[in-house]
Symmetry: C5
Subunit: 368 residues, 5 copies
């Protein structure tokens, strides 16, 4: 049908022993299923067609405010009870081809014998749950709507793990670029990573609250055996939150480290300039002295060096001594040459620490 | 009337089926409405005329402290109960022509069958609510004073969304100016943005508390069906708070990024200086050497180069070799030339990350 | 009397209709008043005379620990109940001639029909409350000791508003000095402001707790009508705290901004140095070349330019071209000249943002 | 006795009227006292002799875990109940000759009629409490073990006040060294101070919790009159915590200020370099020009200035004009000379703020 | 048996008087022990063999989700109750040869008369507990499964102490390298340390929650006498957390200190450059002046100095005076020479503080 163009309706009805699946043409076809035993799951893919969604809302008796929430552009993740229905909003995440994070909103309405799921975008990301449903002896078939709801929320939670793993590797990479190579792109990349982490945090934090609401004793939908599964899910969310917070700290530290690395580099640039200037300024002065035009015939005070037999080599000797003296001074300051002093202090602990510090560096290098 | 010059009184009285609207000349005209069925809404526009407001206070039996709160210059956003009345103070926001944020205080007194609203400034910002009231079958007409109160608070909450959206775009823009162009105005703009965000936060945070107070079970004004609406409103406030906190983090990060960008720039300035100084100092020394006035006739040690046939071209050759050597050295340090090394490492993951890092930069550039 | 030299005792006794006022010579004179109806308020000004204060303590039956608190140098702001008495400690603030903040401790003991107030320093800062008491129909005369206590605490709270207002203006001023003029005094001024804010915070935060304690339902001194007044007072304290926290954030931001501004300035200093050095180093080299003493008669390779007819103007031409080329390069880098590029991008939004950013700067400038 | 070498036992037994004091040779001598009326206080000085401590533990029936706690090197400050005994661990602090902070652990076991105190180190720091006990009419003699426990905890709390006062002065001193003199030692001193503050915080924070535990209603040891005293003690701890947190903020701010001050100084160093380089580079170029060896006889274009009558003074004139021009430019930039502009703006407020800012500086200077 | 290759089963059964120990070939061999009196402890070493672990799970009746937790790669530390069993997950830590921290997961299932422990890795880290069990009169033999569980958790907690002690020394070492030697490796080492601390924190924080859950009154496994032991364990965890947080603060401070130290160093580099440039630029100018080729015969204005008798020594005199003047100026600025001014101010306090500040430095130096 034309009016279903933007929103596809997919129905699954099952009991422990039976399962039916069909694409619906209109929302009204769902009504007979709602009076049958077993679990009815209607999935609406795509939210661009308000008419269909309103028809669905009528079929399931949704509250107008909940319907508005589904259709509105932005919506907070949450779990609420509306007149005996559990209403859950959460965001699935996936990385697109350009490594950008895409969030897709999943709205769930869970009644006594039905689950209504609404998902934005074109891609049907809930297929893995349907696959599991089709296995006759799967755990999800043994329980009611609460286990199906758990499977859908679990799908949401699991979508964050690969994204965060990839993100972790990326952060390590940026860290190496920052600490070891000080690439200026690193600055933009760190800022970018921090913003992506803010987005992930906003998506993941409410999941904990959602699971808390569903696991509460006064929730009528969730039965005790499924509560165990939700608790497992809750553990995963806590791990996600932990990881995100750790990454956020790492990104903040990276920013500091980047600034330190840049300062370090500036330092070494300035050292080169200072060494060069300090070497050549006295030399230029010395050769300038003998370029002066004082008349050597007027007084014997006037630049007698110019007429000495070894004046010229003496002049070079003075200049070479000056340069060597300065080089030695800079070496003493540790600005040039030197390298790592071998660890010969008699205190074994200090040597161990020094090696550890150097190892920290290499550890970072070999990881890349 | 002259004494109403600064404060205009606008009355709306309605039931589900009827609606009357009039401008009042004095506060006493409202009294007969208060004894009628239906909802009486008196709106006072402009708080510059204490006499009128005191007359209104008398008509509605307001507590002297509440009246003082309405008239005083500064007042905290809050919801309180005064002798059976709900008293709500909140701030509407709008951007003026110069993009500065203007806050206008709205005070609400909600009794069993009336709503009294008082708004500072000249502009009647509550017109949208009145528009909705005029539609006979609007939801607000079906309920009592609690739904009208919700509509007014919803108006306050909704006033923040366009402001924050605009602010978000502005922050992105400042970020690009900071990271990619390091404009010195960015520093002032970031400080300015941080201060505006502090103001927004002070205005939005109490809204959450206000809604919490109104949704409490022991509140007598709000009926269960309207509680659903307030909860929706509460969700919006939480989203606002989330957004403001995210923007605050972004602004803090921007400050760091700005300092890093400035350091980076300083670094590149110093590199140019160092390259130039390092190139020309040895050259100037060399030409200085041959400008010395040692007498070539005194000793064959004295600057024989000056009389050699190829002395002059040799001198140039030495200088050119020096320059080329230094340029190669600087290239090796990565200070000049070079550009992006193509990603040819055999580890595919590292190449993927490098592209991602570069993409982060371009992503930022194309957004502007 | 000699033993009252350091501590002056001022007594006010009043009912709704009557009021008596006198300076007491010794603490024992207060005893007959305590058995009369109405409210007895004894004010002790100056805490340098322990004997008098101990006599007062005996007259009012104070707990030895409370008395010790009053006399000890440092004391935390708090509200406590000691054997049926409310004991309140709080700090009044005022700015002295040198803009330094001075804190004066006010200790209150509130019994069933008396208020005992003890204030450090020489200045009797409680006169405004006494003025209000003298007005026969003032609200404070209609209630008991609780309203007098409220008036005294309100006096404490109100003392912070002018101080904070002045402080806000001062911070704006320091901000301009920092962002627009980078005066080095600003650094010391920011540190100073942060310390003053720490002091203000320590004084204001406990006031919230004090009011909470007094407004609790189980407090016997405070009657319900006065609780409304204390709630108003509480609102003011919350506003003070809000303001102080905002100022603290502003001061922290200023510190960051100062460092950025200094970095910016360093950057521009370095640019000037780099421009000058880059301009003159090649020139000095060129003129050095023609200062060399190669003998032009030995070989035709030896500096033929020196004998060319247009050698000298050619030399100048080369130098001028070099300078112009470098100036163009620096202009391209944006180091010199240029100014603000007019906003001609076709995307209107970007232009709007740019104007806003520039406006932020001007906004800051015109405020000063 | 030999086995008491490392741990000295000091016994005090008292009632309101009597007091006995003796050095014990072995722990078993305490047993007869425990069955008498009055309070028995055994103090063990020095924890290096496990045998004695175990004997003491047996005499008082201590739990093996509590005994282990006493003997183990590190132990958290805490208050616990072990089988009817109150067990308190806290740390006394004092500054040694080198201004380093020394923490000494005090363990208290409080039973119905005895107090057992164990203190590390050689020095008997509890003597002041004993002094007070010896006064027949002291408050501590009128109450039971709870007042003695309070006296001992009060001793712990009071040991922090002089240390913090000294620390505050030290911080002020470091601040002046940082802001006004930028001594590089300041960096190490700030780090050192931050670490000492971390230590103080770890010692003081648990004291609040300890007092909370002891003041709880279900504590059997503490009687209501002594609860007043503990509350006073609690107030002191809150003040200590306040002060430590303030100092921590000050130290953090100092770190920022130090970095700003260093940047400022770098700035001024660079300005001097830039001024000198900018002054002399053009001059050196000019004199270089006239050092060129163009043959003046070849063409009239070739450096005619050399043969002009006023060529040399003209050359000086050009150089002097260049220098003066540059100096004026630097003055305009505010790099040299200038000093404080007198406050002549017509806006009195701005002038007031400027004076205040300058005063802030002087205030800091005169304090040192 | 082949299928036990990856997972070794070790059984201990004991009562207060008896103890049996054996390596099991398959999980079914444990069943007879579970019906006997006394405590049965089965330890599974190595989690690479899912078949064995599933067999174990069947023998002990584990929940499928708990089993999944044991086998899955990542798992949060926690304590839960599953159908009457206590399920505890925690991480043991040890440092490998390269000073890297290795975390090994320990899963515990505690039933009424058995403890099942599962440990990753090859190394049997629980041997110390078994040693203690073999001592007939050990406390652990006197109690039931709860004391064995306590011993295992205590082992986990104790594994962190040597690691943190080593870490503390390492941080001190890095601090010295940072503050006193500014080695660039320090930057990487600080970042590395911060990441290791994040890992430690994630491992230690949940231990507190685990112990809280086990010590709760409604826990059926833990008996009151063992609760004392867990409380001791809890104290240790709080000390660990304290230490980790302190180290985290120290590492953050180090980062700041590193940046300050680098800035300091940059400052001193720039000073050297500025001193050298400022010394030689005027000198080069002066000698340049006398290198000009103005014809001395054209006018008496043209460089008469060249023909003066003492022109040359005068020129040197001017140059020497210039250099000395500048050196004195730099000394006045405190850039060169000077050293520590002896403390001669008449205010003894300031001198004391100065010595303390200098002592802070030495204290840091001698510690290394």
């Amino acid at each position: 049908m034309a009016d279903n163009d933007g929103s596809r309706l997919h129905l699954v009805w099952y009991t422990a022993t039976e399962l039916q699946e069909r694409q619906l043409q209109s929302a009204t076809e769902v009504t007979p299923f709602l009076t049958r035993d077993g679990v009815t799951w209607l999935h609406v893919q795509g939210l661009t067609d308000p008419a269909t969604i309103e028809a669905v809302g009528e079929a399931f008796g949704l509250h107008p405010l909940a319907l508005e929430d589904v259709l509105s552009g932005q919506q907070r993740s949450k779990a609420e009870e509306y007149d005996g229905q559990d209403f859950v909003v959460a965001y699935l995440v996936h990385e697109d081809a350009g490594h950008a994070l895409q969030y897709t909103r999943l709205s769930l309405f869970v009644g006594p014998n039905y689950v209504l799921s609404l998902l934005g975008g074109d891609e049907d990301l809930l297929e893995p749950v349907r696959q599991r449903l089709r296995t006759p002896r799967a755990a999800v078939r043994q329980h009611g709507v609460d286990h199906l709801m758990h499977s859908l929320i679990d799908l949401v939670v699991d979508s964050y793990f690969p994204v965060l793993e990839d993100f972790g590797e990326y952060l390590e990479f940026v860290q190496d670029e920052t600490l070891l190579r000080q690439r200026p792109e690193a600055l933009v990349a760190i800022q970018h990573a921090k913003r992506e982490l803010l987005g992930l945090r906003r998506a993941v934090w409410p999941l904990r609250e959602i699971l808390n609401v569903l696991m509460r004793d006064d929730n009528n939908t969730v039965t005790p055996p499924v509560r165990h599964y939700l608790r497992d899910c809750y553990d995963h969310v806590v791990m996600l939150i932990d990881t995100i917070e750790t990454y956020r700290e790492m990104a903040s530290d990276l920013m500091d480290a980047y600034m330190s690395a840049v300062s370090n580099r500036l330092n070494s640039v300035m050292k080169i300039l200072t060494v060069i200037a300090t070497l050549f300024m006295p030399l230029t002065f010395i050769v300038g002295v003998y370029g002066m035009n004082f008349r050597t015939d007027v007084s014997r005070w006037n630049m007698p060096e110019l007429t000495w037999r070894y004046g010229y080599p003496l002049c070079w000797a003075v200049m070479i001594v000056t340069v060597i003296g300065m080089l030695l001074y800079f070496r003493k300051l540790g600005w040039i040459g030197g390298g790592d002093v071998p660890c010969v202090e008699d205190d074994g602990i200090v040597c161990g620490h020094r090696e550890r510090m150097l190892a920290a560096r290499k550890g970072t290098q070999t990881r890349s």
